[in-house]
Amino acid sequence: MFKRILLSILFISFSAASVSADSIVVIINKDNPVGSLKKSDVERFFLLKSQNWPSGEKVRPVNRDNKSKLKKAFIKSALNMSVSKYQDYWLSLKQTTGEREPKSLRSNKFVLKIVGKKKNAIGYLPGKYFENLEGVSKSKVKVGLKLP
């Protein structure tokens, strides 16, 4: 019994450690002429403070859905906001300018697919998920920024 409890604790600790150690990668289309991004660029694009790539093309950010832990981690680390401030920000923008939060997608696969298809898109994925990816989908995107 004691052994089982100890194993459970070890397992939970290991799982928690592996999640918290996971970084976030911001991905862009491989044909996007932009080589790398700064954290402040990512913040501007996802808050629609800046809506154009240097080429003049409109930026198309894609989010994960509100239920995902990844989105919450992204809001905190990339946008320097609490979730409540983030929600207030979009509520305010919606009411005053009609701007809407970037489209939310329900899976990492969809994010990868959209960014791979659209030259002007930008999205984010868990670092580990991206590392373990193989095949055509991964070859259509590149990492613009790695967030701790």
Partner: protein, 393 residues
């Protein structure tokens, strides 16, 4: 007739059945976690779509590439009292607004906010001789076209808005809408000094403008510079005289602080042809759960005395609770000290953000006049309690 109704239902059912047959077939061959995960995601999307789609109506945009529809409803309850005078109370404001936003092209968008108000203004029974006994005016229906603009976006550096838009003055006027305001009553300089018309012209600067506006922003490192320049009529109702103005702001890294300055001049009243100049500065500090807003405005109107106003509003958020205080001073005649136009408002407020779209507010307002007695020798000071709820969708 019955056949035309039956065919789409039949086709829809066939599509759903086919999907689930495909799902089970792939699962049977499965074992591949990736395929299963993807199918699960697809199934979820499909179910979500089914839930969102009404049985009878499909809503589609006519010609736009994106169409959003939303709005909010607000109900307030206000009670006013002072010393021995009897309290008056009323469910004084019901406000429903519909918002529609559409992207017509990648660069062109439109935004419309239409309000339906049921309102009973709080005012003195007789402003000249008796300010102590206040009354709620008879309820009136109002349907103001609050915002209706089109915008063309050239780049981050320049977008052009035309139509009726929010006056880009200071901080709170730009935020403007109840779902995001801590306090439904805006600072005194943005409210009508004499109530009677919610969106009227008796404010220091108009809340909304009818005209054309240029706006843009540029990043210098992690600092953001923004500008607005516009020309419009004062309140857009029958005026053939124009005003113009500008706003410049600088936001420091991580949005920790924004410093702004606004200037506006023109003719504010067609009949008297009063010319005015208004100048204002503002500061927004946003640090963790602490938020500070402050604005100062000074205005000169030809033929009358200068006027000025300022407020300071610190707030602190703890989970779903927001505590705030506002010190709000107004003086409509800076030439005379301690006159009837000098007033300080202290607002002690509390917000409960039940969900991001449902906000409850309670506030206690102390109205403190510099000239303490009216011409009948009665106390001018009074207090308000207001409770309100806003649900946005």
């Amino acid at each position: 007739m019955w056949l035309s109704r039956l065919v789409p239902i039949f086709l829809k059912n066939i599509a759903i059945i086919s999907f689930f047959i495909l799902l089970s077939t792939v699962s049977a061959f499965g074992g591949d976690d990736e395929i299963n995960a993807r199918l699960e995601a697809l199934e979820e999307e499909l179910l979500e779509l089914q839930l969102k789609q009404s049985d009878k109506v499909n809503v589609t945009a006519f010609d736009s590439i994106r169409l959003d529809f939303g709005g909010f409803i607000t109900q307030t309850f206000t009670s006013t009292f002072n010393g021995g005078s009897p309290s008056k109370a009323s469910f004084d404001q019901t406000n429903l607004e519909f918002l529609v936003g559409a992207d017509v092209t990648e660069r062109d968008s439109v935004f419309v906010a239409v309000g339906f108000l049921r309102q009973s203004d709080l005012s003195s029974e007789n402003t000249a001789t008796n300010v102590r006994d206040r009354v709620f005016a008879k309820n009136a229906n109002r349907v103001p076209g609050i915002i209706m603009w089109g915008k063309h976006r050239f780049s981050d550096l320049l977008d052009v808005t035309y139509g009726r838009f929010i006056d880009p003055w200071g901080i709170i006027n730009i935020e403007h809408f109840p779902p995001v305001l801590l306090n439904l009553n805006q600072p005194q300089f943005l409210r009508n000094v004499n109530p009677g018309n919610l969106f009227g012209s008796n404010t220091f600067v108009p809340n909304f403008l009818n005209g054309v506006q240029a706006h843009g922003s540029k990043f210098f490192g992690d600092n953001q510079f923004q500008y607005y320049g516009y020309t419009s009529n004062f309140n857009g109702e029958g005026s053939s005289d124009f005003i113009s103005g500008t706003r410049l702001s600088w936001t420091f890294p991580d949005n920790i602080a924004t410093l702004g300055a606004s200037y506006q001049n023109g003719v504010r009243d067609e009949s008297t042809r009063d010319h005015y100049d208004a100048f204002g500065v503002d500061l927004l500090v946003n640090y963790k759960n602490f938020l500070l807003k402050s604005e100062y405005i000074q205005e000169s109107i030809s033929g009358t005395s200068d006027r000025e106003s300022w407020y300071l509003q610190p707030s602190y958020r703890y989970n779903k609770w927001i505590f705030f205080y506002r010190y709000d001073y107004i003086d409509l005649d800076t030439d005379i000290e301690n006159d009837s136009t000098e007033q300080t408002e202290h607002v002690f407020g509390l917000n409960y953000v039940y969900t991001p779209t449902i906000r409850l507010r309670a506030e206690y307002v102390v109205n403190d006049f510099e000239l303490e007695k009216d011409s009948l020798g009665q106390e001018r000071d009074y207090d308000n309690i207001q409770a309100s709820i806003t649900i946005s969708f």
